[in-house]
Symmetry: C2
Subunit: 210 residues, 2 copies
């Protein structure tokens, strides 16, 4: 019974995700679903890209509680809407549908959807996005692609953040890439530090071309 | 319908958790459910405590995939059983029941149950444990108690790990404690670094008395 309900939930989610995809195409919206563990640097990377790129952006912030990140983004003068899931561990297509439809502030922009900080559940829910962007961070350790396989498998782009901390942490870069390539031979990988700016040029160049 | 099924799942889970609790009492097992984000240092803290304390320990390792952590613990000669959830985002009482019942290797020990790395879902599932131990880490940032309220609310003990990284990160300790005390006035809080050993003495002293 549990599995049956879960299957129904997924079927409905996928249908609404398809509606979202059509809406995004019609309204010139390029969508990146940004997923990571808590504190890996989702908001920091989104803010750096918006600061350094000349493209037009908009943001949906997903959090269990609080609007800390949405307030930061609002301070940049970017169109942002906060979704509080009230305990829910991921965003779903219907939440995005409810927020986006009819809101012209998202039209003709690159829309970052910052998912709930969780390296497990969000990977299962299609939001209608064109890109799945997964952020890992150096202090989380190099073994994460081996342990959270479905997330790294789903990624179109993987960003390793906080490279400024490499001198202070036992992080085996080869093992990290081996883990990624075991589950995902295709994903584009970037290494950046939002703190010292390292690697951001390449990421900005990439977002300029999506 | 979704809510109804979720309620049934929770009811069944709580019943099995009660069975676990009885079993643990009868067999002299003190249980800590260890929860945190991916890479916060669950395994490192468990291993440090087992290395430095004279108590008798056992471990259940919960992971979506892999047995990386269980292999490390097995190398210490400690009784350990790996649970792979195959995509599941948390451990539940039935998984623990299946593993523990009839396995004398757990008797008369402090049992660490290392949950799946996830700061959301595991907090909702009672495993029959006596203690909920939540690990936060400096690089995740000081705002986590405000964002992942149910996890910090549920904690009996909160350990802030990776204090050796404080000089390299903008971590506001006052804001962190304010966040904790807003949702949880009672939890015991420790600060440690598994890398340089800072603060471990107090934690070892505490585990000696549980």
């Amino acid at each position: 019974m549990e599995i049956k309900v879960m299957k129904n939930i997924m079927d409905v989610n996928n249908k609404v995700a398809d509606l979202n995809r059509d809406y995004f195409t019609e309204h010139g919206i390029t969508v990146a679903n940004v997923m990571a563990s808590p504190g890996a640097g989702k908001t920091s990377i989104i803010m750096k890209l918006m600061e350094l790129s000349k493209r037009r952006f908009s943001v949906i912030e997903g959090d269990i509680a609080s609007s800390i990140d949405a307030q930061k983004i609002d301070g940049m003068g970017v169109h942002v809407v906060q979704i509080n899931t009230n305990g829910g561990c991921h965003l779903d297509a219907n939440m995005i549908h409810t927020v986006v439809e009819g809101d012209a502030g998202f039209d003709n922009s690159i829309l970052f959807i910052e998912n709930v900080g969780n390296l497990v559940c969000p990977s299962s829910f299609d939001l209608g996005e064109g890109l799945k962007l997964v952020i890992a961070s150096v202090p989380e350790g190099h073994d994460k692609p081996f342990k959270y396989t479905s997330m790294f498998e789903a990624a179109d782009v993987i960003i390793l953040n906080k490279t400024d901390l490499l001198p202070y942490i036992d992080f085996d870069r080869d093992a990290f890439y081996k883990g990624i390539r075991t589950v995902n031979p295709e994903a584009k990988v970037f290494e950046v530090s939002c703190r010292n700016g390292e690697g951001l040029d390449e990421l900005v160049k990439w977002i300029g071309g999506v």
